[in-house]
């Protein structure tokens, strides 16, 4: 039968994901205010 695909790259921590989003948004805001 078919072997289910495993998600390989799931070491992405939820806390890390939120921090990354916040950081990137701040960088974007800073760039546009310059």
């Amino acid at each position: 039968g078919a072997v289910p695909m495993e998600e390989e790259e799931d070491d992405d921590d939820p806390e890390n994901r939120i921090a990354k989003k916040m950081l990137l948004e701040e960088i974007k805001a800073n760039l546009s205010s310059d």
Partner: protein, 95 residues
């Protein structure tokens, strides 16, 4: 210790940047942003034991838990932002 951690902090910060730049290659804008936050921070804070503690903690953590690299960068940015050097507005001498 004479009370100033300036050189030590600079070395730790350099190590942190180096470590993080390898882990944030997908977003190359992150490291320059962190560096600019560092540049804008007050010299007193950059030479303080407090900054040394934060840096040491962030560096140890990022080395053991790379999957949380943005959490630590964000933490450091927040701390540096809180200690941004107040710019004296010399611009206000308009004619």
């Amino acid at each position: 210790h004479g009370g100033s951690f300036k050189a030590e902090n600079e070395q730790l910060f350099g190590e942190f940047l180096e470590c993080c730049s390898r882990l944030t290659e997908e977003h190359p804008e992150v490291i320059p942003f962190l560096a600019s936050r560092h540049q804008k921070a007050s010299t007193e804070f950059l030479a303080s034991a407090e900054f040394r503690n934060v840096l040491g903690r962030c560096l140890t953590r990022v080395q053991s838990k790379r999957s949380k690299v943005y959490v630590y960068i964000n933490e450091l940015c927040t701390v540096l932002k809180a200690h941004t050097q107040r710019r004296k507005l010399a611009l206000s001498s308009a004619p």
